[in-house]
């Protein structure tokens, strides 16, 4: 370690954090089949475990204002524009590192049990390790280009893992959908990067390093900052499943459940939040973009929650819940509470991963059943899964002294103290709906009569300890992870102190009294949601198996027909246009032009080749004729 200036240190241990999972992935590509499924899985777990150990070691050496850098080499340079392949770890990155490697490690271990019977287990661990590599690259990158490499890489792994069971064409379609929808957002993201480079370049600063950007961001005009942040946010709406690009995430549930937990709940989908937090200095200068982000976040939180109210697929409920929680994070970003947004990323990673893995445990026990109407009464069959599920559900609902209580209340409080009453109100109602749909799910899956068929019932079993152990650890995290960010009227927030040098001090508007009042109000709404769920689904004799004919119920059950709307407005016209191009323009116009030119040449040749008889005497006659013409010409000149 060589300290060059105070707080910044070069530390070449950093490169091993992403490199070890990459090595694990590559090793399994070549040796996985020979090692056997179980050993390949253990290798994958060990690789992520090693990354976790290094990340933790680095974390404990880091001070909140500190920065570790590991410049590996210059990737490319053009004039004074230079992009390095170099990694960095600061307070924000260190938190993300622990989330990615920590949750990632638990989910790897869980996958040992969950995927144990699967033929493609080696391939699964190859993808999973590769995902961890790209995700670590994303959070450790010290410039936007490298971040974008990680960003695309996790998108690729997401695509590969959604379509993991590729024999079923529906899974492949879901993978394609995720990839294409993300591509739309990424296009905006890339344009944002280009615009940032050229706008800064016009001022003579050619760079994409975060540290350099932060130094020179003042040189940009407000209009260009607004446009740049808007384009970057378009990328975030794709990756983090916000309106209008959230439609891929529910379909992404086609992938194996550990993938849903790792990629589509805990880590990848939070990349958009991380990106905005990483570029907070840029977003902070664009108030219009920020308020748009806040509104999109709140709207997404609300609409996704209303859809989650009526879904019957155990994973779909969780998927819409994830979209909704991501909406909360962007609400926090939009009101300038970056620290609160990352805090919700942190707590959400625990309880949502726990919920997904719990759902996976249920699906595993029921041999692949996902419809909650065919579940029920599983409490007594799988107690460990049940109790961890209860804890995680309490956490996401925001019951006091669980993780979700601290992080969600913090966001609501920051929205309120920012003066955004309407946003706060939407968040408040969403909190009530969150409690309702989570406990509706809990009651439908674990309580009441068992509605599974006799075949599935015979196989009912608690999952192996490789699966329950991660569940228990995540459940513990679902409670205590939130305690780091307690409000000031309790024991204060270690979280804010850790991230304060990064995002600046948290301004405390309003009084603790108001904050407590609001918290009590939130709790009342949550309790109402919980009680309503009990009335509708928890009581003995509840009507679980029937759809209501209520128009709102139908709207929610059919996801507001957003997919159908996109299909009619975008997909179908696009396909029709493509078909027109493929069947009319391409064969007629494009091929016609090319073939026409060829035919023209052939026609001219057909005319001209008559001259080429092959008879020497004809050529000589031509020769003579030419000579005579030239002769006549020169004689005429005389």
């Amino acid at each position: 370690m060589v300290a060059s200036d105070p707080g910044v240190a070069t530390y070449d241990l950093l490169r091993w954090i992403p490199l070890i999972p990459l090595l694990g992935s590559v090793t399994n590509v070549f040796l996985g089949q020979r090692l056997g499924r179980r050993n390949a899985g253990l290798l994958g777990c060990a690789a992520v475990g090693a990354s976790l150990a290094i990340a933790a070691y680095v974390f404990f050496q880091l001070s909140p204002a500190g920065l570790f850098r590991d410049p590996i080499y210059t990737w490319f340079e053009s004039g004074s524009f230079k992009v390095n392949l170099s990694l960095q770890t600061d307070a924000l990155t260190s938190v993300m590192l622990l989330i990615v490697t920590g949750i990632g490690f638990l989910i790897h271990v869980y996958s040992l049990g969950y995927m144990g019977h699967d033929e493609g287990m080696v391939r699964f661990f190859v993808y999973l390790n590769l995902f961890i590599f790209f995700m670590l690259l994303l959070v450790m990158a010290d410039n936007l280009i490298l971040l974008f490499v990680g960003w695309e890489g996790v998108g690729l792994c997401s695509y590969l893992l959604i379509g993991f069971w590729y024999e079923d064409p529906n899974n492949t379609i879901a993978g394609n959908k995720a990839f294409i929808v993300n591509r739309i957002g990424d296009f905006g993201f890339l344009l944002g990067i280009f615009l940032l480079v050229t706008e800064l370049g016009r001022q003579g600063i050619w760079t994409l390093d975060f540290a350099e950007l932060q130094k020179h961001v003042q040189m940009l005009s407000p209009a260009s900052i607004g446009l740049i942040t808007l384009l970057l946010f378009a990328g975030a709406t794709g990756k983090s499943a916000q309106i209008p690009l959230f439609v891929w995430l529910p379909d992404a549930m086609a992938g194996p459940t550990p993938v849903s937990a790792l990629i589509h709940a805990a880590t990848m989908v939070t990349a958009g939040v991380y990106m905005t937090a990483r570029l907070h200095f840029l977003f902070a200068l664009a108030p219009a973009t920020l308020s748009l982000i806040a509104w999109i976040g709140a709207a997404t939180a609300f609409f996704a929650a209303t859809i989650a109210l009526t879904q019957n697929d155990i994973k779909k409920v969780l998927a819409y819940s994830t979209v909704s929680q991501l909406g909360y994070m962007f609400l926090a970003v939009g009101v300038g509470a970056f620290s609160a947004a990352i805090f919700h990323v942190f707590t959400h990673a625990f309880f949502k991963a726990c919920l997904f893995l719990g759902a996976g445990s249920v699906i595993h026990a029921l041999s692949g059943e996902q419809n909650m109407r065919n579940m029920g009464g599983l409490k007594s069959y799988m107690p460990k899964t049940y109790w961890t599920y209860v804890i995680a559900a309490l956490a996401i609902a925001g019951v006091p002294f669980t993780a979700g209580f601290f992080s969600k209340d913090l966001i609501l409080w920051r929205a309120f103290s920012h003066g955004a009453m309407l946003l706060w109100g939407i968040g408040l109602i969403t909190a009530g709906m969150t409690a309702f749909y989570m406990f509706r799910q809990l009651f439908m899956v674990f309580h009441g009569q068992c509605r599974a068929d006799s075949h599935a019932k015979a196989h009912l079993h608690e999952s192996p300890s490789a699966m329950t152990l991660p569940l228990i650890l995540l459940a513990i995290g679902s409670i205590f992870s939130g305690w780091l960010g307690a409000p000031e009227y309790l024991w204060g927030s270690a979280w804010d102190r850790w991230l304060q040098p990064m995002f600046g001090a948290v301004e405390h508007h309003g009084e603790a009294g108001t904050e407590i009042m609001l918290t009590l109000l939130t709790l009342a709404v949550v309790a109402a949601g919980l009680f309503w769920a009990y009335l509708k689904y928890g009581r003995a004799g509840a009507q679980i198996a029937e759809d209501s004919e209520n128009v709102f119920y139908r709207l929610s059950l059919n996801k507001y027909y957003v997919d159908e709307f996109y299909d009619a407005v975008i997909v179908r016209p696009f396909t029709a246009c493509s078909r027109f191009l493929a069947q009319i323009i391409d064969p007629r116009l494009i091929d016609g032009t090319v073939n026409g030119i060829a035919a023209l040449a052939r026609g001219l040749g057909w005319v001209a080749r008559g001259l080429q008889t092959g008879n020497v005497q004809h050529y000589l006659a031509g020769f003579l004729l030419g000579t005579l013409v030239l002769l006549a010409y020169y004689i005429g000149q005389l």
Partner: protein, 100 residues
């Protein structure tokens, strides 16, 4: 002394006969002979001018032409013999392989 015009007219007539022979005859040997006619017509012009201008350069050119014509006759006849052995014919109408 015979005026220059006479030589030139004779030369032009011989050359024209040679041209017609090359273009119209159907036998390679006759065509070769016609080429010789054309060469000799040119030689005649050279000699005539050489004589009338009192310069030796025309005669030098004639010797060159005669040397080249001798070589051409040798190679030409060799090719004709070779072609005849291949095809049992000397009709240039039938030698049309070099086309499109």
């Amino acid at each position: 002394m015979v005026p220059l015009d006479y030589y030139l007219i004779l030369s032009a007539i011989v050359f024209a006969i040679g041209v017609v022979g090359v273009l119209a005859r159907r036998n390679l040997i006759v065509i070769l002979m016609s080429i010789e006619l054309m060469l000799n017509a040119v030689n005649l012009t050279f000699i005539a001018f050489s004589r009338f201008l009192g310069s030796m350069e025309g005669q030098v050119a004639v010797f060159f032409v005669m040397a080249v014509a001798a070589a051409e006759a040798v190679i030409g006849l060799a090719i004709i013999i070779s072609v005849f052995r291949q095809r049992q014919s000397l009709d240039p109408e039938e030698m049309q392989l070099l086309k499109w």
